[in-house]
């Protein structure tokens, strides 16, 4: 079964193993919004001037993320590629939103059901149907800022499209199996997008052109950026009591 086939077929009213109906507050923020400039593993300190993400949906589900166990937020994982199964959906946000990741945003209060939320599915908004936000244009993520290392400063812009983050298994621009920590009945679900992880392996020294230098498709910085966008660890979620 496709990764999302089950998920899309199940709603909070699916009647499978649903618990009590409760309310969830859903918030989104980023590492940049919370703590300012990010440090990458290649030694760059990155300051963002703008960071916008087209969010299509957030699904909070039962399935356990596939993770590396020594470093984990969660202790278990299914062992087979493709065996991440989201299972029951406990809460979902289906309203497309242009997220300004330089600040925190309360997205919605939604009705869901109680249950142990172990992972989430983050869907990027495909802007081909309509323009969600002029800042995004045809992209699902747009960043601009400066990266500094050893006295060198590089101004950059970066964009990614829905095709860049397409999960071919489900034909959707989704990142599945994002880890959820904490537990509560209802409560707050807080997504903290890790822009640092998006940019962690970007070789800013390979950017060329007039400032701000764009991440050019097919070149190493854009490739590294896209790989960062696809990482489930870039979308950690805390489940807290409000």
């Amino acid at each position: 079964m496709g990764v999302s086939a089950l998920g899309w077929g199940l709603g909070c009213d699916s009647g499978t193993t649903s618990g009590r109906r409760v309310s969830y507050v859903i918030e989104a923020t980023s590492d940049v919004a919370e703590r300012g400039p990010v440090e990458t593993s290649l030694g760059w300190s990155v300051t963002l001037d703008a960071a916008t993400m087209g969010l299509s949906h957030l699904l909070f589900v039962e399935g356990t993320p596939v993770a590396q166990w020594r470093e984990l937020l969660v202790p278990q994982a299914h062992a087979h590629p493709g065996h991440y199964v989201e299972g029951q959906i406990f809460a979902e946000l289906l309203a497309p939103t242009a997220l300004d990741l330089t600040t925190s945003t309360r997205l919605a209060v939604v009705e869901g059901t109680t249950g142990e939320i172990r992972s989430a599915i983050v869907g990027f908004y495909d802007p081909r149907a309509e323009v969600l936000d002029p800042a995004l244009g045809d992209a699902v993520v747009v960043l601009s800022g400066t990266a500094e290392r050893d006295g060198a400063t590089v101004a950059f812009t970066a964009e990614a499209t829905a095709a860049d983050v397409l999960d071919e298994a489900i034909a959707l621009p989704d990142v599945s199996g994002c880890p959820v920590s904490g537990d509560a009945e209802g409560g707050l679900l807080r997504l903290e997008v890790s822009i640092g992880l998006w940019l962690d392996r970007v070789p800013f020294d390979q950017l060329a052109g007039d400032a701000p230098a764009p991440f050019m498709r097919g070149e190493a910085p854009h490739n590294a950026f896209v790989r960062g966008l696809r990482k489930a660890l870039a979308y950690p979620i805390e489940h807290l009591t409000t």
Partner: protein, 283 residues
């Protein structure tokens, strides 16, 4: 995933003596391990996205800690300690028998591929020298072999100290999911701890659209001596691989190199009765 496997030939929960599943009697569970055709013979080019073929000449794996729990809470385990098997030799290989089990549903079945220690023993398929190597290095898995795309051939000999525990195994035979095994009254249920050798070459740790690839592994042989080492794989940053040439999706891990990716893949090897799956955890 192993499409070469003849599902009908697998001894999936084979009830050797047809009897009922309940009634207060006892039965046995006979465990075996198998690497299927992919480990014993080859992973053919048709299975790879990039036309490579992989042939193992050795596939050592430590298997142990076989445990069962009955639906009513009783627990049992295989008395034998961890043992090294060479799944490149013709199998399936006997792992052991757990007897005097209450007939019925043993819904929680698991096993481990632990790191070899001084108390780890060798199956008949493994030489004393191979056992000693596994013990000395603390490996859980050692795989060696070669790969070719028809013009270029690369060898590999990779030892992995990546112990894993496979718990709450689920049988997916017969088109339905069954937790654990059913022990027949007065009979024997055969249980296979299946190892999928193709998983070392998947390009995604999670996606059901993962494909098998070797081209990037071959390209890691930067000294061009014909052998791809784990150290050479560690030098390949996944971000250098174009997304059009393999997703190399790392799921919720922090893997950044091809070496780390292959190591993480070793924890996707263990299965249950062919295509069945388990929850996996590390140590």
């Amino acid at each position: 995933m192993n499409d070469m496997t003849d599902r009908t030939a697998l001894p999936l929960l084979t009830i050797l003596f047809a009897v009922g599943c309940t009634g207060g009697g006892e039965g046995e569970a006979r465990f075996e391990t198998w690497g299927e055709e992919y480990i014993e013979q080859e992973i053919p080019a048709a299975e790879f996205e990039d036309g490579w073929t992989v042939t193992y000449d050795k596939f050592l794996v430590v298997i142990g800690d076989v445990t069962l729990a009955h639906a009513d809470g009783d627990q049992a385990s295989l008395p034998d300690g961890p043992r090294v098997y060479d799944l490149n030799t013709t199998g399936p290989h006997d792992v052991g028998v757990v007897g005097a089990l209450a007939a019925g549903d043993w819904t929680t079945v698991g096993y481990a591929t632990p790191a070899a220690t001084g108390s780890t023993t060798a199956h008949a398929s493994v030489s004393e020298a191979e056992l000693q190597m596994m013990r000395d290095q603390g490996y859980s898995v050692f795989a060696s072999g070669s790969a070719t795309d028809g013009t270029t051939t690369k060898s590999f000999a990779w030892g992995f100290a990546e112990p894993a525990t496979y718990a709450r195994c689920v049988d997916v035979g017969g088109g339905q999911e069954i937790d654990g095994i059913v022990v027949p009254d007065g009979g024997v249920v055969s249980v296979q701890l299946t190892i999928h050798g193709d998983h070392l070459f998947y390009d995604d740790l999670q996606s059901s659209a993962a494909g098998l690839r070797f081209a990037h592994i071959a390209a890691a042989d930067t000294n061009d001596d014909g052998e791809v080492t784990l150290a050479e794989l560690d030098a390949v940053d996944l971000s250098s691989i174009p997304t059009s040439e393999g997703t190399y999706g790392v799921a919720a891990t922090s893997v950044t190199t091809l070496g780390g990716f292959v190591r993480a893949s070793t924890r996707t090897l263990g299965h249950f009765n062919g295509e069945g799956h388990c929850d996996v955890s590390g140590e």
